[in-house]
Symmetry: C2
Subunit: 232 residues, 2 copies
């Protein structure tokens, strides 16, 4: 009845731990139900029942309902990376590369807008391991920042030497801002978010170019000093 995930035992793929299959089953079931019913409307009991396991078993693999969200993040990050590849291959100028990668991120998230928005709040809690700034999510975060590093690496743009090393993380931060806007975006098809990207990228592009001007050097340095101070 349900599209069964490819869970043939895959003898060649060494599922390290015994319960790896169960783990994936629970995860896939949860993802499906989240998409079908939304996050709040999906109970742990429903997940367990649909997956054919006991409730407690889900908690053996995932510390809490919130932890299931992390799976969503990780999955989205991988999809984002894949969706961005064509852009990185095609474009050479900084602006189009950045715009393409940002659009790719929203492309990936769009099918989940309804329910993703509902639970992105969990990410906002500082004490939560789900916060994009938390230690637990440093893996996916590094991968995301790396993606913006590639935006620069392949770009033909000339960038201020002092700004350069900070830029990937700053672009990632901008991406977080875009997502925050997207989450609140109620316009049909989230058109506004697309406009935000298309409007903001030229500004960022110009700003990055301007940062090399001698007259603006002090400002650039002041900004960078502040950022370095704030990141402990």
């Amino acid at each position: 009845m349900t599209e069964q995930p490819a869970q043939t035992t895959t003898a060649g793929d060494p599922a390290t731990a015994r319960g790896e299959q169960t783990r994936q089953l629970i995860r896939d079931t949860a993802m499906r139900l989240f998409r079908e019913r939304g996050y709040a409307q999906t109970t742990m009991r429903a997940i367990a029942q649909e997956a054919g396991v006991a409730v407690g078993n889900a908690y053996y693999y995932f510390g809490s309902k919130d932890h299931l969200i992390q799976e969503f993040y990780a999955q989205s990050q991988v999809e984002h990376r894949a969706a961005a590849q064509p852009v990185l291959d095609r474009e050479e100028a900084f602006g189009p590369r950045l715009a393409g990668v940002l659009h790719a991120g929203i492309d990936v998230l769009t099918p989940s807008h309804g329910f993703a928005a509902t639970f992105f709040k969990t990410a906002a809690e500082p004490t939560s391991p789900l916060s994009p700034f938390s230690a637990e999510s440093s893996g996916p975060r590094q991968a995301a920042i790396e993606l913006f590093g590639e935006v620069l690496t392949g770009s033909t743009a000339k960038i201020d030497a002092e700004l350069r090393p900070q830029l990937p993380e700053l672009l990632w931060l901008a991406y977080m801002g875009v997502i925050l806007y997207w989450v609140h975006d109620r316009s049909p098809g989230q058109t506004k978010t697309r406009q935000l990207i298309d409007g903001a990228v030229p500004l960022i592009d110009r700003l990055v170019a301007l940062s090399r001007l001698r007259v603006l050097r002090p400002v650039t340095r002041q900004v960078l000093d502040l950022i370095r101070t704030l990141r402990h």
Copy 2:
């Protein structure tokens, strides 16, 4: 045993609805317990018990536990306004006025950092009436924006005519950013947030001044157009 809130009937103060007293009692009890135990550790049953009412009674006045947070917001806003008054009376230059108001906001919130951070996540959920962008909180939001309007009104700074009307809301948005940083700030006494304010204000000051330059006019206009587009 508990410090009883001033709940003498206050015959002169016409408590419009009959249950106004009960409402305040529940609210004050909740605020006290939140401060004492934190948000998650304070159960609705505990609030009801300490206030000497039934659980259901709390739900008569506040739609949910989350709605009690709104009281905290409203209260904080009023305190912020009061704490900002001396600064507005004293300072005349734009920079010091802005810095003073931002610091005043953090001053007010500081005693609650421990638990405020825990529940600020609720504010991040777009569907929640607690979101600072939601219709329900438009009252407090307008009041907050108005406060930043006063930062400008009393200021001696010369400001671009086109930017001027948008600026209060932009400054409020910056304040939201400061709060977001504060929430995640783990440095002792949230020193980092203070540094953020002291570092960012001069930049904003300079930026506002620069916006009047003829050469930067196109950029200014581009930014303002984007903002106008995005606010529906």
